[in-house]
């Protein structure tokens, strides 16, 4: 019957791990700037697209 103690301990441990990770990420400054990463995320695609266009032009030549 002591399985409930184990489960409780485990669930709290998991919660504490997530909590610790959150505190760590705040401490590292990951939440200091929430705007730029949101914009940066969208850049990659456009870069790739542009390169593709360049390549297709080159192949025409």
């Amino acid at each position: 019957m002591s399985v409930i103690y184990l489960l409780l301990a485990l669930s709290i441990l998991v919660a504490l791990i997530f909590f610790g990770v959150f505190i760590y990420s705040v401490k590292r400054g990951q939440y200091d700037d929430v705007h730029t990463p949101a914009v940066r995320m969208l850049f990659e695609d456009e870069l790739v697209k542009e390169e593709n266009q360049k390549q297709s032009i080159k192949t025409k030549d």
């Binding site: 709290i12 909590f19 705040v26 400054g29 939440y31 940066r40 542009e50």
Partner: protein, 795 residues
């Protein structure tokens, strides 16, 4: 056909440069486009139309970065091979800017990475310092139109620690609140069930351990503030809160120790969590603005010193300037110290210091003051004082700059809490006395229950949420406040003081009028072409004012610094400049800026530059004069007194020739008479008055550019909304008052349960969040309604 520049979006004149089937307004913009196009960075123009800026002339400007001691102070990290520097780039404004700055490594292979922090407008660049110097990095940025701003401010800063303790406290309270809710849920319904009976002690002690960090870490601010308040004999709002937290914790602990019940751990953690959420919401900051600036943000970090013996030049930090040093001040550089002019013609723009717009001409031997900007060519000066002892910088040694304005301010909540706390204590004592007489076993229960239920959670939340919401609304309407208290201060004002130059007038537009004979077509064309060749600010604004003419080359052109220009083309000659230079037959009226024209040896006439008042100034004054005393306090001469008197309401006080100290003392004088003062200004010359006044508002044409230390920054375009902002502040304070009534109602309901001894944990657990959330919704809706009704977002 008017075309807009593909790079910067400015309209191109006829002299547009066409390259790659695109129009450019100047060579600088075209060069950047070429650079980007050749390096596969054309994507810059896909993200946003015309995102760029015209690059400025930088030759010699960053030479001081050759000085290793200065570089050391600026870089964040240096291991001899790799350096990391964090630069402030004011031009950063769109996603294209982020993109190009983060792709710097494509332009310069020695740049490892560049990371943008957009809200702060900074870019952190990591580069190989053995191959690339900081100067080259800065020059690269300047060349592509992103000139970083390096000032004396960067020099002292060092590495700033960010205070994130509120986030930690909030996170811990939230974490504990959630878990305690789970653990206390089974017992709410008091099911007499075997397994629940078995495990409830474990659950209770788990809740207890979750509440420990909440009380002893998250809640510490309230205990400290309550203690400070009591020490100063003030019953602030944190006194009943701290009392509530303490009583909740002690009673709950005792209850679980003696197995009397579950305790109120859920209410306890919830209370602290909600309170901290309120605090967090109120703490809206505009990270790209700074409200704490002093002269250091304006001053250069280094200056060129000329060695008297061997005539060599070196760059030194401005703090190292000693009395007697010979300094070289280049075109558009700022004088860091009081000095005597030794060599060269000085045209000094003192607008930072005095607010006077027109540059002053100085000759060798004249005294120059720190803060003046040299406009015309290079000059040599000899330092008379060190940086800290100069005339302008001494203003900052005045006491007002070291005082904390908020410390003496008692906000509305604390005013009310004085009565609230007294009444609360009386009720709890009366109720306890009654129960001691009636049923003494219940007395302690009732006493603690009253303190728990009356804990002013809703009351303490209504202010941060209504102020915090209004702060955001103001921010969206481009009126940026330093903190939420400013709204309460805006509600309570008697006098509003305006600076004239830069505040009531705009620097962007000048009204130019012409008096004299008409110019022939050839003369007009010659005038425009002559002005085109000059870099003088007056020439530039006159050039943009005049009707466009075809571009032609001048046969001869000579600019006599500080006097004017002589130009010749075919058989026409022209002289443009000051009255004495041109030989004006009229006696010069000293008070206005004029440019005189003489063509083919005949005096033609003069252009007069008048300050252009912002649109809607008259309306603003008329609206405000109904409820406030208005004053115009100008550092300028009385040249426009008549015009102002005609334009503004009759009872407006007009004062001219006010030095920075005079302005400060004027504000102080009013305050000694018991008046609450709002100062609206723009320059460093207003800094003293802005700091002294209850609310100092800096008007800014471009909020990214620097404004002096103040309580609020108002976008110049939004000036006409000033009466609406003040009205909105008043309505917000009224909203808070209504919400107080609402939260008192909840308290009365709660007190009924408490006084009659029926307070169960489940009732507290329902009542507390219910009251908090309903008050929160109430104030948010009401402040949003206010902003919509006052049309704060309409232009």
């Amino acid at each position: 056909m008017q075309e807009n520049c593909f790079h910067c979006g400015n309209s191109c004149d006829q002299d547009a440069i066409v390259y790659d089937e695109k129009d450019f307004c100047c060579r600088g913009c075209k060069t950047i486009y070429e650079l980007f196009a050749n390096n596969d960075l054309g994507c810059y123009y896909d993200l946003q139309d015309a995102p760029g800026a015209i690059p400025e002339e930088v030759a010699g400007k960053f030479d001081y970065l050759d000085n290793q001691t200065i570089v050391e102070k600026l870089v964040e990290f240096d291991d001899g091979d790799i350096q990391v520097v964090n630069l402030y780039v004011p031009h950063m404004h769109c996603s294209s800017c982020i993109w190009i700055l983060e792709n710097l490594h494509k332009l310069q292979a020695h740049i490892r990475t560049a990371q943008v922090n957009f809200p702060k407008k900074t870019v952190r660049i990591t580069y190989k310092s053995s191959a690339l110097s900081l100067k080259e990095v800065v020059q690269l940025l300047s060349r592509i139109g992103y000139e970083p701003y390096i000032s004396l401010d960067d020099f002292d800063k060092g590495k700033k620690e960010v205070d994130r303790s509120l986030i930690y406290k909030l996170a811990i309270a939230g974490f504990a609140f959630g878990n305690v809710m789970f653990l206390s849920f089974p017992e709410y319904f008091e099911v007499e069930e075997y397994w629940l009976e078995e495990y409830k002690h474990l659950f209770r002690w788990l809740m207890f351990s979750f509440s420990l960090p909440v009380v002893f870490y998250s809640g510490t601010d309230y205990f400290i503030s309550a203690y400070k308040g009591l020490k100063a004999k003030i019953l602030n709002i944190d006194v009943p809160i701290a009392l509530g937290i303490l009583v909740l914790f002690l009673r709950s602990t005792i209850e679980i120790i003696f197995d009397w019940g579950t305790g109120f751990f859920d209410s306890l953690t919830g209370l602290v969590f909600f309170l901290l959420v309120g605090k967090f919401f109120q703490q809206k900051t505009y990270s790209f603005l700074s409200f704490e600036r002093d002269y250091k943000s304006y001053f250069p970090i280094a200056v060129t010193r000329i060695d008297k013996q061997n005539k060599s030049e070196e760059n030194i930090q401005v703090y190292d300037i000693e009395v007697g040093d010979r300094l070289l001040i280049r075109n558009s550089e700022l004088l860091p110290v009081d000095a005597i002019l030794i060599n060269g013609e000085a045209q000094i723009d003192y607008s930072f210091v005095t607010g006077e717009r027109d540059p002053v001409r100085k000759v060798s031997g004249d005294k120059l003051f720190a803060g003046g900007k040299q406009l015309d060519g290079a000059i040599e000066v000899e330092a008379l004082k060190s940086v800290e002892q100069s005339y302008l910088t001494q203003l900052w040694s005045n006491d007002v700059f070291s005082q904390n304005k908020d410390a003496s301010f008692v906000n509305l909540t604390n005013k009310i809490s004085k009565y609230f706390t007294s009444v609360l204590l009386v009720i709890s004592l009366v109720a306890t006395a009654f129960w001691i007489y009636y049923d003494s076993s219940m007395a302690l229960n009732v006493f603690t229950a009253v303190l728990i239920i009356a804990c002013p959670c809703a009351l303490a939340l209504s202010t941060p949420f209504s102020l915090g919401n209004m702060l955001r609304i103001f921010g969206r309407a481009k009126f940026y406040l330093k903190n939420a208290h400013v709204i309460e201060k805006l509600n309570d004002l008697d006098t509003i003081i305006f600076d004239k130059t830069g505040t009531l007038t705009t620097n962007k537009k000048v009204a130019i009028t012409y008096e004299g004979m008409n110019l022939t077509e050839e003369e007009a064309s010659l005038l425009k072409n002559t002005l085109r060749a000059s870099n003088h600010p007056l020439s530039r604004s006159l050039y943009t004012f005049l009707a466009s003419q075809s571009i032609s080359t001048l046969d001869s052109f000579e600019e006599i610094t500080g006097k004017g220009m002589v130009a010749r083309q075919a058989e026409n000659s022209i002289q443009v400049g000051s009255a004495s230079f041109v030989g004006s037959p009229q006696v010069e009226r000293q008070l206005q800026t004029t440019v005189h024209v003489k063509a083919n040896e005949v005096y033609k006439g003069k252009y007069t530059f008048n300050n252009q008042y912002r649109s809607g100034v008259q309306k603003v004054f008329n609206a405000l004069s109904r409820s406030y005393k208005l004053v115009v306090l100008s550092g300028d001469n009385a040249g426009e007194k008549e015009q102002l008197a005609k334009m503004l309401p009759k009872n407006t006080q007009l004062l001219f020739d006010q030095k920075p100290d005079d302005k400060l003392n004027f504000v102080k004088g009013l305050q000694e008479k018991g008046e609450k003062v709002m100062m609206i200004g723009d320059g460093l010359n207003d800094a003293g008055a802005l700091a002294q006044s209850e609310v100092g508002v800096a008007i800014s044409e471009n909020v990214n550019v620097f404004s002096p230390a103040c309580d609020a920054i108002l976008d110049a375009e939004q000036m006409h909304k000033l009466p609406s902002f003040l009205l909105a502040a008043r309505k917000t304070v009224n909203t808070i008052k209504y919400s107080f009534v609402l939260s008192f109602l909840y308290n009365v309901i709660g007190l009924y349960f408490a006084v009659t001894g029926q307070l169960k944990p489940v009732i507290a657990a329902i009542l507390m969040p219910l009251s908090s959330i309903s008050v929160l919704i109430f104030v948010t809706l009401l402040t949003n309604y206010t902003s919509r009704k006052l049309k704060l977002f309409k232009n």
